[in-house]
Symmetry: C2
Subunit: 632 residues, 2 copies
């Protein structure tokens, strides 16, 4: 993949956070009133510092683990399976929330342009998830080219916005005020003390941790290294650095423009915003910061709408990439027996489709419960993201320490030491953000994330234990007599009526030359049985037919009883039960056939020493076979 | 069964209609105002005439068809499979609606006693259905004795009510007025013309057809003849006549008491009832006729409440009996291939449970859609009931005609002719009611019943056609070479890993001494494959292991390809695919195992000439087997 194509698609996840990260910083600060929002560039700068460090840290990861295993691989290899399990759960939750946050934010931009849709935000968001899932289900060959163009247009448009804004502000006499500039902001009672108090400092920390949501998606590129052109690691690392730089510049630009145009964004508009002393009311629709900035800088209706549409598009592309990455991650985790093992079948359509549907349903439920409220969702989002960031950095520090234990070459040792310093700095900063996020968001919904993570970790640990337990119990003992064979085979054909499938089952059973062969029918109705007996004799079937008595009209018990009796009389014999099965053409016809065969099979599986052989007869080919017989 | 026990339980369906039939007559007549309700005894008498004739007609059926096949058997035998199909659909719908009507009516009585529950009528009705279904699922041994006692108490209580009412009215100076006697009844605009017009006559006919709902359930006894004491038919016939007599007396008594106590019951209380000129309002709760009569006749609170509770109980018993009869009917229809064939397993718990759940869900949906409104439900109910009544009577007429064709004995001929006259009268009267019901109820919901019946008939006809088609295509041709065997058996064991289930599958495959035996694994991961190959060699498995290449990481295609290649190279060989299967103890563990085996099996069923043999390995027994091996 070329960088020009790779960057916009892979980076959509990281870049799209510009749609909601500035809002997070501003509305948190605005809890203490307008003066506090003057701190936004400082908070933004702190976020940018973390962004730069994390970007450089992940640059190390790209070089050290170019296989695309991402955080999960780094943590599992360096910190062990337990930490790997926690990261696995965190990433799965991260995927669900990336879709939920991106789609909810996209909905905000759509409704900023199309105001009448504002009452339908939740169904709109759920509908968008359904559309994304349908697209993901329909085609593997999603047109990366088109997505790349949209991504490039988005970057260019935000870049132009910044340039136009800067020129107008600095050279052409100043920008006009934003639409919300005239509103009064009422501080929330608990936060109206001076910013200099401890509460104020706490609020700034909270704004900082909220703004750190701008970092989400940076790690995506580490999972995509194998898709880059050679030299893969170098190209991926360069892309990553470009991405960090662009994201930082965009974030600072938007925050600066919001400040000079006096954008007012608050957590609760109905309570906190007033027009000439009167509350704005429940019907006030608060446009996101980026949209308000675009309106002030570009003026008119059309250009801001174009920016909003591109923003919604990049958010949806970010969600879309998750739909492609999710089945791959599920496969990786299934291979390590953290998820049902059969999900580890890359390229298998059923597995992929199940993954896509699970992701869509999960994220739709989250969107619905959180009522597509981006602020609420981000509180859930941050903790999981920074748990995997922190563990990943810790893993990298351990990685370099291990390298230093074995590496002899002086130059390589120097490089490793320098890399370790970078990752250590990353570890310090990401764990700092994690602690702040836990402190400031725990009661605001982050506890839900922790609970979900704990349950996820428990389920995956149980799954792994179950597989390990089964493997241990089923291991072939060293002293096993592999050559020992059952002495005899007792074959048994279940007969419901005399038709071609039954005849075929009997022929196939006879072809295996069993020691004993019997046909067994259950007598549910004397008249029916008499008819079957007569047919049997007339057709000259070369195997005798035994009727089992069914005292209570249930056919399962007599058959199971009979099999049990055979097993008792010769325990070293294998019993093979042949079941003629009807394979019909249409799914709706299936409920009309094989119900008793299915039930019998389910019960026979519980009996040791019994093999259940289904002999399918394809109804579609019956006519052809008929015709052939007559031709012959 | 003794008559004393049989009557209250079997007859609960027929007797319980006293809970809603009087209301139907009165509220229909009240559409034209209070003077019209004076006609209620006349209308009641007309219903009683039909009741007597239908009872006598069914007495003929009991003697002629003592096997308990009911209307379905009578119609199928005499009028052919097509008419039988219509009756089958009508009876299935009748069962659903009997539960819906009985439970909804029971809810009315419960809320008459416990007024605070009036706001929860629909959830209460749905909850009662759930309780009935649970009881039906729990036990076959439902205490018939207790139900009989409740039924007897109900009959005695209504009988006492009639006697006390008659004595008070005729000997002790007259009954007090009912609680609703003082209300003014406003005729509905369309019906306020004089009763003498055509519209008035039409209304009387409508009241008559509505009152005919009192007949529902009379046919129940014809399906229960085999459960009576000997002489079965005679005892059943006597029970039937007693039932008809009691139901007629109860209906007339209640109608007469309602008239002398001036009970006011209307279709739409909020519109039609006024207190001193003002509407009674939306919150007025209209008690059913029987409850109002009980209040006026018995006085106080306690005794009327006892009657209401007994009435609710008999209604629930009526619904309960349907839960017991429904699986039996489903079995009968399944035997005739109108429903999936496997339902014809009397006594099979799964079939019975499925039937009970289907009935509960279906009737709950009906109750919910109709908002537990008895009047609305009865409009749906009548048409289906009278379609089966009419067809059944027509069938009986044909039956006697056939008898007269062959019978020589003079006395028997006379008896048959007399019976035919009774059934012919029944046919005339029931078809009259059917026509009136269609005329008066078609736009009031009966069209829904007709639509459901049509869909039911179509589905059952399609099912029967499908089975007939399959039977024809699968019939063993007369010239079939039943002794012809496939030349060779190619056995193939699917290997995912080397463990005890795989070892067992190989041993069992070898025990059948196939012409060719190979073990096949799909290579999804080079490292895994190398490990498996090494294990295979180390364990000394006596069968070579073939690896199939999986270019797209999907394991199904290579296996299917391989089987297809084997089939192509020797088309007269049977291919037997052995699949080791893990049988785990807990259902939740199932999702962790066998997914690929299941998928493979589903795909292999489509390939002609392939037998799929699952070799189950019970994990629960693995430890035991281990221990044994070590003991030995």
């Amino acid at each position: 993949m070329r960088k020009r194509v790779a960057l916009p698609v892979l980076a959509s996840d990281a870049l799209s956070s510009i749609a909601y990260a500035p809002d997070e910083i501003l509305l948190t600060l605005a809890l203490a009133g307008v003066p506090a929002t003057a701190l936004s560039p400082v908070v933004g700068l702190a976020v940018v510092v973390v962004m730069v460090v994390v970007t450089l840290s992940y640059r190390q990861t790209v070089h050290a683990y170019p296989s695309g295993g991402g955080d999960y691989e780094v943590v599992t290899r360096n910190l062990g399976a337990g930490a790997g399990l926690v990261v696995a759960a965190a990433i799965l939750l991260d995927y669900l929330l990336t879709v939920a946050v991106s789609v909810s934010s996209a909905t905000t931009y759509v409704t900023s342009v199309l105001a009448p849709l504002q009452a339908y935000r939740v169904p709109l968001a759920v509908g968008l998830i359904a559309v994304l899932a349908t697209v993901a289900l329909a085609g593997r060959a999603s047109s990366g080219r088109l997505l790349a163009v949209v991504g490039q247009l988005f970057m260019v448009s935000i870049g132009l916005l910044a340039v136009v804004g800067a020129v107008r502000e600095l050279a052409l006499g100043g920008l006009p005020a934003a639409q919300s500039a005239g509103l009064e902001v009422v501080p929330v009672p608990a936060h109206d003390e001076a910013l200099a108090t401890i509460g104020g400092a706490f609020l700034v920390l909270r704004a900082f941790s909220s703004g750190a949501v701008a970092l989400t998606g940076v790690e995506t590129i580490t999972t995509a290294v194998p898709t880059f052109r050679r030299p893969r690691a170098a190209n991926a690392a360069l892309t990553l650095v470009m991405l960090g730089a662009i994201a930082s510049i965009l974030l600072m630009s938007v925050l600066w423009l919001a400040r000079v145009t006096d954008v007012r964004v608050v957590a609760d508009p109905a309570q906190q915003l007033r027009v000439s002393g009167a509350p704005v009311g429940e019907n006030y629709h608060q446009d996101p910061v980026l949209h308000q900035v675009a309106q002030a800088v570009l003026g008119g209706e059309v250009l801001p709408a174009v920016v909003a549409v591109l923003t919604a598009a990049i958010l949806l592309i970010a969600a879309m990439t998750v739909f492609h990455r999710f089945p791959r991650l599920a496969g990786q985790l299934a291979k390590d027996e953290l998820l049902p093992r059969h999900l580890w079948m890359r390229g298998n359509r059923v597995s992929v489709a199940n993954g896509i549907i699970a992701l869509a349903v999960g994220s739709a439920v989250i969107v619905w419960v959180a009522q597509a409220d981006v602020v609420r969702l981000i509180a859930l989002y941050l903790v999981g993201v920074f748990i995997s960031f922190t563990l990943s950095q810790a893993g990298m520090v351990r990685h370099w320490t291990t390298v230093l234990h074995v590496e002899q070459d002086r130059k390589a040792r120097r490089a490793a030491r320098s890399s370790r310093r970078i990752n250590a700095l990353g570890l310090v900063l990401t764990s700092l953000v994690l602690v702040i996020a836990l402190m400031t968001k725990l009661t605001r919904g982050a506890w839900v994330s922790l609970l979900v993570l704990a349950v996820g970790v428990a389920l995956m640990a149980l799954t792994r234990m179950h597989y390990a337990d089964v493997r241990r119990r089923l291991a072939v003992p060293d002293d096993a007599r592999l050559a020992a064979l059952p002495a005899r085979v007792h074959a048994l054909v279940h007969v419901a009526r005399l038709d071609q499938p039954t005849v075929r089952a009997i022929a196939y059973a006879r072809a295996t030359r069993p020691s004993t062969l019997e046909c067994v029918a259950v007598e549910l109705d004397t008249a029916e049985s008499a008819r079957l007996r007569a047919q049997w004799r007339a057709a000259g079937v070369p195997v005798p037919l035994t009727f089992l008595h069914a005292p209570d009209g249930d056919m399962l018990h007599p058959l199971l009883e009979h099999v049990a009796a055979v097993r008792r009389s010769s325990p070293r014999e294998v019993v093979v039960v042949y079941l003629p099965e009807y394979v019909v053409r249409h799914p709706w016809q299936r409920i009309l056939h094989n119900a008793s065969a299915r039930r019998l099979q389910a019960r026979l599986r519980q009996v040791p020493g019994v093999v259940v052989s289904s002999v399918p007869f394809q109804l579609a080919t019956a006519d052809v076979a008929h015709a052939k017989d007559h031709d012959a």
